[in-house]
């Protein structure tokens, strides 16, 4: 029995030295790029932490922003928890996050709490991530599809059950529609995508779609899947299935054009940015609060009304200089043309328009310490 202590000690030593050896080599991409060499002159001034939390819809855009931001300011420890919009807003309000990413603007109650959290009692809400939501379908032999809001509502509520239904045929005189059963697929999780989609159906097709907008799919039953990946996966593997998902994720699947006024508009970055630009602001908000009500019933040509708008929410006044500088620098990068282009390349979202950028720039310039 005495002998047994020796191999145990050896094993421990081996394990220890192994972990030390691992720790010593470090990640190759971090050791060579960090430090003083690569950052621009201005960047070397910033340091400390920058903590964001919130919507996972922004995750891939955030990766691009983070990469660009850290290229400029390598000494700032940046993190973004894709914990969800609700969690993000909560963490921002209780002070554990410096800014939040959120698929919905703050409601009245949260706004009051957020204003208390900030020095000077003023917050910013910037619609920095705009993504068109496409109606995505998998139907053999049909490459183009036009749908009115009423038809979409009918399909998703189960009133329209086959692809050769007269309501669909009326808008697609040139297509040969098969009699395949429609399998509408919706998100099983609570998501900003569902909320925006049901809001669109509620406003644009209120006669057919009677449910209130909600992040949780409001109807009982039907095929549900988890996350954008889930719904796209199901639609890809099921003939006759249709769903709603970020346009950038449609891949090889069919994407429907949606009736806007007299035209049918396909989802595109430009059309999504256009509808956001022309949507009215939420009333009674602060000077730097650009929460908007997306105009779902727009008739403007070239506007696509089913968009997800995800905000960055933060303070105009922070308690300490470091945080204020970091948030300011990050937001500056996010709304810059470079930042928007980087996000669009990685996430496939729509870049914000110049007038939106101008608005946002005003808010970002106002960020200070202890206002």
């Amino acid at each position: 029995m005495k002998l047994s202590s020796k191999p145990r000690a050896t094993a421990l030593a081996l394990a220890l030295s192994g972990s030390l050896a691992l720790a010593a080599c470090g990640a190759s991409n971090e050791t060579d790029s960090g430090g003083t060499g690569s950052g621009s002159g201005e960047g070397a001034e910033l340091s400390g932490n920058l903590v964001g939390a919130g919507a996972s819809s922004q995750q891939s855009a955030m990766e691009a922003w983070q990469a660009g931001f850290q290229g400029e300011f390598p000494d700032v420890q940046f993190s973004y928890d894709p914990a969800g919009s609700g969690a993000g807003r909560e963490q921002f309000i209780d002070g554990s996050a410096d800014f939040a990413g959120s698929d919905a603007a703050l409601d009245e109650e949260e706004l009051t709490a957020a204003e208390e959290r900030c020095a000077g009692g003023e917050i910013f809400e910037l619609p920095n991530y705009i993504s068109p939501i496409a109606v995505v379908y998998n139907l053999e032999g049909v490459d183009e599809l036009n749908l009115t809001p009423e038809t979409i509502a009918g399909i998703f509520s189960g009133a329209i059950t086959t692809w050769n239904d007269p309501a669909i045929a009326a808008d697609n005189p040139d297509a040969t529609l098969p009699g395949t059963t429609i399998t509408p697929v919706h998100r099983g999780d609570d998501s900003g995508t569902t909320e925006n989609f049901t809001d669109y159906l509620h406003q644009a097709a209120g006669d057919v779609w009677t449910a209130e907008p909600d992040g949780v799919w409001p109807l009982q039953g039907g095929e549900a899947a988890n996350g954008t990946s889930g719904v796209v996966e199901v639609v890809t593997s099921t003939d006759g299935a249709v769903t709603y998902a970020d346009a950038s994720r449609a891949g090889d699947l069919g994407v429907a054009s949606v009736a806007v006024g007299e035209d049918f508009v396909a989802p595109s970055a430009e059309a999504a940015a256009a509808v956001v630009e022309n949507s009215p602001a939420v009333e009674g908000r602060g000077e730097h609060d650009f929460a908007i009500e997306v105009n779902r019933v727009t008739e403007g040509s070239g506007e696509y009304p089913i968009v997800l708008v995800s905000y960055h929410i933060g303070c105009i006044g922070y308690d300490d200089q470091e945080t204020a500088d970091n948030v300011k620098a990050f937001m500056n990068y996010v709304i810059s043309e470079d930042g928007q282009a980087a996000a669009a390349e990685n996430a496939g979202n729509a870049e914000i328009s110049d007038s939106l950028r101008e608005q946002a720039q005003g808010a970002v310039d106002a960020i200070t310490a202890a206002g």
Binding site: G84, G86, D189, S191, V216, Q220, G222, E223, A224
Partner: protein, 317 residues
Amino acid sequence: MTATKAPTERPAKQGAVRRPGDRIFAGSAKGSGIFILVVLAGVAAFLISEAIPALTAPAEDIPGGEGLASYIGPLVLGTLLAAVIALVVATPLAVGIALFVTYYAPRRIAAALGYVIDLLAAIPSVVYGFWGLAVMAPALVPFHEWAAEHLSWLPFFAGPTSASGRTMLTVGLVLGVMILPIISAIAREVFSQAPALHREAALALGATRWEMIRMAVLPYGKSGVIAGAMLGLGRALGETMAVAIILSGGAGATVNLISSSNPSTIASNIALRFPEATGVGVNTLIASGLVLFVITLAVNMLARWIVNRRADFSGAN
């Protein structure tokens, strides 16, 4: 000295000498046990305090607008359905596997085979989820159709069948695969520990291998198998990611296992809804977590009652 005192304090049974080391060791062992109770009390207190706002909130504030009971009810049904399917499928299989590895497989490869089954336990639940979605669900569609055709007189197979196979049945089977290594590992361990004297005596009396197992191994391993099954059930009840990924859930209460409208399970519903939840919605989800906690409590009480009807057969008593 101490040796002479010991028997007067604790006669016969407590054969060992009592020393300071004993007191420290016994104390720390007892302390660990009590610590676990404290942690559990902490979790329970946390759940209850967070669930109270949902219990007191008016019905229309609860997601769904019809009150807490009608929100959680279908989830409870879904949780139990999935876990029961998993347990019913996995337990006999696991016992079979454990017997195969311990008494049937050739000695030289038995350890390796056990190791291979343990591999199943090493696979993270996210992977089970994506495998279930991409491989298992489509593969089970023909079975769904067959069941709808031939077994539709059972309410479980009433149909109509799901085109994608992402049903309660599929989820139950995937969960069964997930808990298989847990049950079989423990069963294997207790089976292999069955006293060699008993086994050899049985064989010497002319018993066949199966008779030897039935008389010498199974009674000995029964409590271990039930313990393993309970561990597996706990895992199946609380499994989050795999169910969330596979199940087409969110519908009302139904026992129909093969349609695309299924009740969700408590754990997966929390995972799917929690990130975007606010206000009373958060409390409602935590209240559902409390209900899951209570279900586990009830299930365990039941299992314990079953086990205790026959006293444990173990080497230590």
